[in-house]
């Protein structure tokens, strides 16, 4: 097990900035008047609506079903009437609108009858996975990957370790910290359910050493459950400790292959909040309809952690926390390192919303002018993924996307460490994000072009075949005509012969 901790490469010591929001306990926000549920809140295909406008729905009722393998169901987060299924602003860096189910709450907050899987200890792993899938649970650390897929294990290799990620290394975010402090039992219970689903041997719950209260609460919960398979590990606070690959390296000293998954080395990593959601879905039969969101920053009157219904609009969330204060320069979903700016507070809280950061002008000084790269290599030292950001930047600037991929652009976890240390203030991660979407777009274009080529070739082949068939038909017709003509000639001959015979007869008589 984890007697000795290891150290991941690169990374930074960052200030926590979590005190403001951890001073008070989690506040439960009542359901708002209007719920906006984007159909795409997770990685993979958007969910498919299962309700029609005008329909009454209850809390916990599935309103959109998973579509395809990698997708997640979406549930109504309060009772009310579906008023529309239309485009609404979503929390996305593009600031664009996307299809959403919009529900007007009736204020009664009635829930569907929960169906717990209380004897889960005797249930099959498949049944647990099915339950997690039907509850619409996705990775709540921010990536929002459908969790049931990550509970499937690997047939070829027995699973060794389940890691519960409670590192929460990014400054300002404290939703997992507060969850562990107040609901440690749920996390540990979730871990036990996940161990059952995965057939894993043991579980490590990793918490950074700047969260002593959370560690204490988890220790108490562990004592209560007395499950020898689960162990609490305190890891050093170092950004990005909460990165999946970084945390695995810290705990086990092993590196996940750059083109592989943690599964390949017998490890699966889940967020602590995901474990708590699994507990709720299995033990209480509650689908995922709310999550804890850290609302913080100098621009919020009362920074705190709020348990908000999925679909609550950011503006209402801010209002619940006492409204804006002072001069808010930027509203960010996620943390200051990896989050993105929201165009408007009209966007709803989604399953991936771990933090809402309202930063004042002093907190977010406008970016100073970008200077040329001096090739100091500070970014390469800071990179936790062992990349060479300066080379990636160089080739991205030249739009040489093949070379960028040779330098393993897709291993970049966009943690922002290189940005922070760059003495020339080059927005490196922005360049890498640009390169990534550009490459995805090009690959898609290429696939479309290949498809078009195949269709064109098939069409050419068809046209040729049709022309050939036409030709064949004409030839046959011509032949038949010829035959018919030759037939006429014979008849004429016969007629002529008959005529001659007749004549001879007449002459004789």
């Amino acid at each position: 097990m984890a007697e000795r901790l290891h150290r991941f490469r690169g990374g930074l010591e960052l200030p926590g900035m979590k005190e403001a929001a951890t001073a008070s306990p989690i506040r439960v926000m009542p359901p708002p008047k209007r719920i906006v549920l984007p159909l795409s809140q997770h990685i993979g295909e958007p969910a498919k609506p299962r309700v029609a406008p005008g329909e009454r729905v209850l809390r916990g009722q599935m309103v959109a079903a998973a579509e395809g393998v990698i997708s997640a169901a979406i549930h109504a987060s309060t009772s009310g009437t579906v008023v529309a299924i239309e485009d609404h602003l979503v929390p996305h860096p593009s600031g664009l609108a996307a299809p959403c189910i919009i529900i007007d709450a009736d204020g009664r907050d009635e829930a569907i009858e929960p169906v717990p899987l209380s004897d889960w200890e005797n249930r099959d792993a498949g049944e647990i996975r099915e339950r997690v899938r039907d509850a619409g649970i996705v990775g709540l650390g921010g990536a929002a990957f459908p969790s049931w897929i990550k509970l499937s294990g690997n047939r070829d290799q027995p699973l060794d370790t389940l890691i519960l990620n409670g590192a929460e290394c990014e400054p300002c975010i404290s939703c997992d910290d507060m969850l562990m402090r107040e609901r440690a039992d749920e996390v540990i219970s979730g871990a036990r359910i996940m161990l059952r689903a995965l057939h894993a041997r043991h579980c490590l719950v990793a918490v950074e050493d700047n969260k002593p209260e959370a560690a204490e609460a988890l220790q108490a919960a562990l004592a209560k459950f007395a499950d020898p398979r689960i162990e609490l590990v305190i890891v050093p606070s170092r950004y990005p400790q909460g990165g999946e690959r970084q945390l695995i390296e810290t705990l086990t000293g092993r590196e996940v292959p750059h083109d592989g998954l943690p599964l390949d080395i017998g490890i699966v990593c889940h967020n602590v909040a995901t474990a708590a959601a699994v507990h709720r879905a299995v033990v209480h039969g509650e689908p995922l309809t709310s999550r804890i969101v850290t609302v913080t920053g100098g621009g919020v009157a009362e920074p705190c952690n709020v348990e908000a219904r999925i679909g609550t609009r950011m503006s209402e969330l801010i209002a619940f926390c006492g409204g804006y204060r002072g001069d808010v320069a930027r509203l960010i979903m996620g943390g200051p390192m990896m989050g993105f700016t929201l165009r408007s507070d009209d966007a709803p809280v989604i399953k991936a919303s771990n933090c809402l950061l309202a930063g004042t002008a002093e907190e977010f000084a406008p970016r100073r002018e970008t200077l040329p790269c001096i090739r100091c290599g500070a970014c390469a030292d800071a990179c936790p993924a062992s990349l060479l950001p300066q080379m990636l930047y160089w080739h991205t600037r030249a739009r040489d996307f093949e070379r960028v991929q040779e330098y393993d652009l897709f291993d970049c976890i966009e943690c922002g460490s290189c940005d922070l240390v760059c003495p020339s203030q080059i927005p490196l991660v922005s360049h890498f994000r640009y390169a990534k979407t550009e490459i995805w777009g090009k690959n898609e274009e290429r696939a479309k072009a290949d498809n078009a080529r195949r269709r064109h070739e098939a069409r050419q082949a068809r046209l040729e075949r049709e022309a050939r068939e036409q030709e064949e038909k004409r030839r046959r017709k011509l032949e038949a005509l010829e035959k018919m003509k030759s037939g006429d000639a014979k008849k004429a001959e016969i007629a002529a012969a008959l005529e001659r015979a007749q004549k001879r007869k007449e002459e004789r008589s």
């Binding site: 979503v90 979407t437 777009g441 479309k448 072009a449 078009a452 269709r455 070739e457």
Partner: protein, 188 residues
């Protein structure tokens, strides 16, 4: 001395026979250069290059009959890729063949369509469905935006529209462009 000469002659004969056999046995039928040019061309099949499709144009380039700057949908990036493949100097897009445009999509106004099938016959990738005197429509995912269906339509019911930007195909802008509006605001 004689043995050496004999041995060398024998070896030469054996290797010669081997090479000769390989040359006929493993002969490459297709011209690999054409295939590689085809892989670069955008497969729009728009015929703006003056050839009846991307493959004929690729064959013409390979033979040296056509220049590398006649493909407007491929644009500057396409010309650069061709120049690199063929080891030539890149040059600007030839103006007589057209201009580089954002990717378009054909949309049939189904109210106006009379079901004449002319556009179906014109579409190089069979992306239009319909039948005589029945309404036609474009299969969005298959349309290459070649515009070949626009001219034959007797009632002008086909529009070319830009492919809409959604959350799923949105791309991060290049940082300099991303920052410039803020800079402009600060300066202005």
């Amino acid at each position: 001395m004689l043995t050496a000469i004999l041995a060398m002659t024998l070896l030469a004969l054996v290797f010669g026979a081997l090479l000769g056999y390989a040359a006929t046995k493993f002969r490459v039928e297709d011209d690999p250069v054409v295939e590689r040019i085809v892989a670069i061309l955008p497969q729009t099949q728009c015929a703006q290059c003056g050839y009846p499709g991307c493959r004929p144009y690729a064959e013409a380039i390979a033979k040296g009959e056509a220049d590398i700057n006649q493909c407007p949908p491929g644009g500057e990036a396409g010309i650069r890729a061709l120049a690199e493949l063929l080891d030539r100097e890149p040059k600007p897009l030839s103006a007589e063949h057209g201009v580089e445009k954002p990717k378009l999509l054909a949309v049939i106004d189904e109210q106006t369509c009379i079901g004449c099938t002319l556009c179906i016959q014109a579409c190089p990738v069979d992306a239009i469905v319909g039948a005589a005197k029945q309404m036609h429509t474009v299969i969005e995912a298959e349309c290459t935006g070649c515009e070949l269906c626009v001219a034959p339509c007797p009632v002008n019911c086909i529009d070319m529209v830009e492919v809409p930007v959604t959350v799923r195909n949105w791309k991060w802008p290049e940082p300099e462009k991303w920052l410039s509006p803020m800079k402009d605001a600060a300066n202005g």
